[in-house]
């Protein structure tokens, strides 16, 4: 698993990248009450703000970590946005991105580097 400086985690799943937010980020956000996800089959560019997370405190954006196509979103979050707090690294994932080369993941932070960032 890899990480961005914006507290996203990225996990390769065959030729797809699964994206969510870290435990640290979900704790900082507080109780998540609504998640706005992108449409499936949307082409996104790195840096595009494609997810909005509304917590009891405020709205925050999540950016696409790489160029690619959204091939699946976590529909369960529509009825149960609290999954982002309960299981941010698992059942609380946001979307799956089809990218040209999953090898590009290596450019992101590894777990140790991410831990250093948040300490």
């Amino acid at each position: 698993m890899k990480f961005t400086e914006d507290h996203e985690w990225l996990r390769a799943e065959e030729d797809l990248i699964v994206v969510g937010i870290t435990e640290h980020a979900s704790t900082q956000l507080g109780d998540v009450v609504f998640v706005e996800l992108p449409e499936v089959e949307t082409m996104v560019a790195k840096g595009d703000e494609i997810v909005v997370i509304e917590s009891v405190k405020a709205a925050s954006d999540i950016a696409a970590p790489m160029d690619g196509e959204i091939v699946e979103v976590n529909e369960a979050l529509a009825d149960n946005p609290g999954l982002v707090n309960e299981d941010p690294m698992g059942a609380g994932w946001f979307f799956k991105l089809k990218v040209e080369d999953t090898g590009a993941l290596n450019a992101f932070l590894d777990e140790d580097a991410y831990k250093e960032l948040i300490d």
């Binding site: 507080g30 009450v33 609504f34 909005v52 009891v56 405190k57 529509a78």
Partner: protein, 381 residues
């Protein structure tokens, strides 16, 4: 974030307790206050509705008014020149909501006023404390002695288990009714207790000497039904209860009729009443109460799950180009499991069930005007 500004913030007498309970401390109106504890806003909110929540509201201003004549009624009469409520008719041991108005008919602050026999006790908003004091001294200082209480903390205990929890510490308080205000001598010194609050629940606000505040709070928290609650849940609780936040839902440019607060101006202060008018902005305020205002504070229920927060622009249609109003408070309501907002809308679009559109992140989302409170009050009248 809090640590950078901590030096310039005023601590309340309970800051060390909040920190020991794991609170996240934030700056609020110049004070260091807990926004949430480890349980989080959602759980704190629901706990208050089902059990009892303890809030530190020591940042609020406690002000005493004493008539220089020695005749207590003179203090009430003087205050009536600044606030359009009936305080001469307020019985001893009773409390009443009101607001300071300005010459334009707007609201300078909202407050609670209690008749405590030989004096009045005012509780005002933290951010307005200094201006309220100056206003009182300038306008009625010749008739009343104005004293800011600086050696007392203020706590709120709210929720269906509040009565039982407070009775353990201050027997006798359970006999109080909504908006009663009385003193109780306890192991924690003399408490000034009112049966009121800012959550829509039954509950109490308790003024305690600062030196006794921490043991007093500790005694309440020792009760299994009581949990500490931060500012985050305080805001979502008051919003569900349809209660205004000064500076957001009401301000110097909103009139009582626009804010739907006409209920706080008793008949005796209105046209034809025995003590009609005689407060700043009376002409506009009283006329609007009779004829209606062109805009009104309303409740909104978004049709989807996305909260419509303060500042969100409102439109009459999905494609309308000119905004017709604006959200002044908005959040997810944990007890409703849905988002709720307060907003100002033109009178003709303010009837319950009117559909309007809000622009959220560039998209027009539908919402309906809804009656308030969103969550029913459970005051012990």
């Amino acid at each position: 974030m809090a640590t950078e500004t901590a030096a310039s913030l005023t601590p309340t007498p309970l800051l060390a307790l909040h920190e020991s309970l794991g609170a996240r401390i934030v700056p609020f109106a110049g004070y260091a206050l807990p926004v949430q504890y480890p349980a989080g806003v959602m759980k704190e909110h629901l706990h208050t509705r089902s059990n009892a929540g303890l809030f530190d509201v020591s940042h609020m201003g406690q002000i005493l008014l004493r008539a220089r004549s020695g005749n207590a009624e003179d203090a009430a009469a003087a205050l009536e020149t600044l606030v359009p409520a009936n305080y001469i008719g307020l019985g001893e041991g009773r409390q009443r909501y009101g607001f300071f108005t300005n010459d334009a008919g707007g609201i300078e602050d909202d407050l609670m006023v209690a008749n405590r026999g030989d004096h009045l006790l005012l509780v005002v908003n933290a951010a307005c404390k200094a201006s309220d004091l100056a206003h009182l001294k300038t306008r009625i200082g010749d008739r009343v002695e104005v004293t800011l209480v600086e050696d007392r903390a203020l706590l709120a205990l709210q929720g269906p288990k509040a009565e039982a929890a407070l009775a353990d510490v201050a027997p006798g308080t359970s006999k109080m009714r909504f908006m009663d205000s009385t003193s109780f001598d306890t192991d924690f010194g003399t408490l000034w207790v009112s049966r009121s609050g800012y959550t829509g629940e039954d509950g109490f606000e308790i003024s305690v000497m600062e030196g006794a505040a921490e043991p007093f709070a500790g005694a309440l928290l020792a009760n299994a039904s009581v949990e500490p609650i931060g500012l985050g849940a305080r805001d979502s609780l008051r919003l569900e209860a349809g209660l205004c936040l000064y500076g957001s839902d009401i301000n110097a440019a909103t009139s009582p009729a626009e804010a739907d607060l006409g209920w706080a101006i008793q008949k005796i202060r209105r046209k034809g009443g025995a003590s009609a008018g005689g407060f700043p902005g009376a002409e506009r305020i009283l006329e609007e109460l009779e004829l209606g205002s062109s805009r009104r504070r309303v409740g909104l229920r978004p049709e989807g799950r996305a909260p419509m927060r303060a500042g969100t622009q409102l439109f009459a249609s999905e494609t309308g180009s000119e905004p017709i109003g604006q959200v002044t408070s908005g959040a997810f309501g944990p007890s409703l499991g849905a988002p709720v907002s307060m907003a100002y809308l033109p009178a003709e679009q303010s009837a319950p069930d009117t559909r309007i559109w809000a622009e959220v992140r560039g998209k027009r989302l539908p919402a309906r005007v809804a009656p308030m409170p969103f969550h029913p009050h459970s005051y012990k009248r």
